[in-house]
Symmetry: C2
Amino acid sequence: MPDLFTVLADPSRRRILDTLRGSEGLLVKELVAALGLTQPNVSKHLRVLRTAGLVAETAERQGRRYRLRPEALREMDDWLRPYRVFWTSRLDDLGDYLDSTRPHERPQP
Amino acid sequence: MPDLFTVLADPSRRRILDTLRGSEGLLVKELVAALGLTQPNVSKHLRVLRTAGLVAETAERQGRRYRLRPEALREMDDWLRPYRVFWTSRLDDLGDYLDSTRPHERPQP
DNA sequence: TGGTTATATAACCGTCAAGGCATAAAGAGG
DNA sequence: CCTCTTTATGCCTTGACGGTTATATAACCA
């Protein structure tokens, strides 16, 4: 149960997620080929990602297919949301209207 | 020059940023009191945060005031953006679309 | 059965960071 | 100059993590 930010601190794991995004899932061997990492290394990272809920695994004839579970990233986005308003325009703040816990003052009209 | 995700992997550092947000800057002693951490610990974390550009320091009579530099978080938001569309509503996607089309330098008044 | 492919796991190692303690540095005031 | 306050830094220990190598497990095929 490592926390999400720790899991995403590793660049190889972020590369795995980036590679998984935009596909309907990849076999471990495909990830190994795409990233140029060793197979045990990839398997270890996938285990961490699976424990964090960031990927899901489905058995298949020729191996195990891993697919992205992007909802698990919401926790990071939630943390980031109160900060995002600092650099986005008011129009972009539309995306933040859900957030009621923003501790800094709203800009005066 | 540690990467941003590694810097933010530490919960104490995220708490420091959360505390700094919503104020115009705090003295080290105020952060120590607010967070219940030891003073050397806070100073070390502040050094890491300053190196990453996440906080800025200004000398003052009674100490040094640290203020948040939220722009440094954009790199994390940029990484997160392609994932955000997976779970956000269409309204939020509008904000993302504008993010990707409008130049970021000068928000329109 | 034996062999091949795909994936996971175990064992080991080097590195690195976090936290605690003690102390140094810097500035203000008496 | 001395002292008090505030902050930074140095040293040390400990624990966690990433990467590699070797091996185990499982499925499939000849």
